[in-house]
């Protein structure tokens, strides 16, 4: 039998399939996180202070406990309640809730940055609460917080590396699998790092440029 060997095309494709898993977890988690985050953020910004603060305190827990611990706890919930969800689902939901805790604060700061006078003016002109929200507050707030939201998305993408602990083969885990065959950790890790970099850096640059461009207007 033949063990070992050099880094081949197949290995590279295997790494790329890991990257696809990383991206799909990121996508699902960011969608969950954004939907929940907008909902919670609007509650944080608009509801009576005791509801907003309670929600804020609960979400703060998700930002103060390591994601790794959250994943393990969520995974053990999964088996305790006999839900039998696949680990992919567990990872996505856990990361989604984690992202929503950050997204909530982003949305809240965006809504808070819309001048109160603008909102009152819209209401005085006869817009309903819903109309004011969808055509005045949210468009302005989106422009303000979009760069932070890009930052959050990239943060989630990097945090997906942790799901390898509950047994999902994403990019970093697949690099380990390849390493155990090829026995060249530095090379494989270098390629893996490059893939992460290529996925993250252009979007980070775009975010910075948007921030500069929109900040000066």
């Amino acid at each position: 039998m033949y063990f070992g060997g050099s880094f081949s095309r197949g290995d590279f494709l295997f790494l790329l399939s890991g990257a696809v898993t990383t991206l799909s977890i990121t996508l699902v988690a960011v969608v969950i996180g954004t939907v929940l985050g907008v909902l919670f953020g609007l509650i944080r910004a608009g509801a009576p202070w005791w509801i907003g603060n309670t929600l804020g305190a609960v979400l703060d827990v998700f930002r103060s406990v390591p994601l790794l611990i959250q994943l393990v706890l969520f995974n053990s919930f999964n088996s305790m309640l006999k839900l039998n969800w696949p680990t992919f689902t567990v990872g996505c939901i856990c990361l989604g809730i984690y992202a929503s805790a950050f997204c909530t604060e982003i949305v809240r700061s965006g809504v808070g940055a819309v001048p109160q006078t603008t909102r009152r003016a819209a209401r005085s002109l006869g817009l309903t609460w819903r109309q004011e929200l969808t055509s005045i507050t949210l468009p302005i707030a989106t422009r303000i917080v979009f760069p932070s939201w890009i930052g959050l998305t990239l943060g989630v993408m990097k945090d997906t590396a942790l799901v390898l602990w509950i047994g999902i083969v994403e990019l970093l885990r697949s690099s380990q699998i390849v390493t155990s065959r090829v026995q060249e950790p530095l090379l494989i890790l270098g390629i893996t790092g490059l893939i992460y970099f290529v996925m993250s850096f252009p979007i980070a640059r775009l975010g910075n440029q948007l921030e500069k461009k929109w900040g000066t207007q």
């Binding site: 390591p66 393990v72 706890l73 919930f77 006999k82 990097k158 602990w165 890790l189 993250s200 850096f201």
Partner: protein, 220 residues
Amino acid sequence: MDYEFQWRPVLRSLPEMLWGALQTIEIAGLAMMLGTVLAIFLALAKRSGKKYLSLPADMWIETARNTPALFQIYMLYFGLGSLGLQVGSYTALLLGITFNNAGYLAETFRGGFAAVPETQTRAARSLGLGAVQTQWHIVIPQMLRAVFHAMTNQMVWSVLMSSLGVIVGLTTDLTGVTQKLNVVTYRTFEYFFVAACLYYLISKAFTLSARVVAWRLFRY
């Protein structure tokens, strides 16, 4: 749900977990201090305008910010190992978080340095202070004041990142101890729930003490 909670073994091993928490605080604190010092040099190198200084600093910062922290730890643990430099999981974790902290903080500090008016430097220099004295006594203190809130956030990140040590085999920090006990007893939920509570307390303790320090140092 027919799961029976058993808290007794957790209570019995609480002292061990508290020692683990102490180790977590030590790693996070050390990585933060080393990271801050390195970040000041990185930010100064990036501001210097000299290519041979700003290019390596740029590479450091962009690598730290655009790859996962776990990848950076792997790089030190497995990557350096293959070069014949065997580093333990503690060292790999500490250096990995330091590398990451330094990259993020450097970017923060760059903004902080930009917030210190140029006139401050010129005034200090014309009063007879040297270049290093000006940075140390005049510019850096004002820069730190400007970025203190962001540094507090990074401190919490440092605590959260220190939990990654368990993946490269560390058994002495809070997550490591918890995982070790978990493997023996299989009371996963109970142990990790207590660990989560301890992490929450550590994060809050750091945030609160940062607030006290800021109040003592930065009030006018």
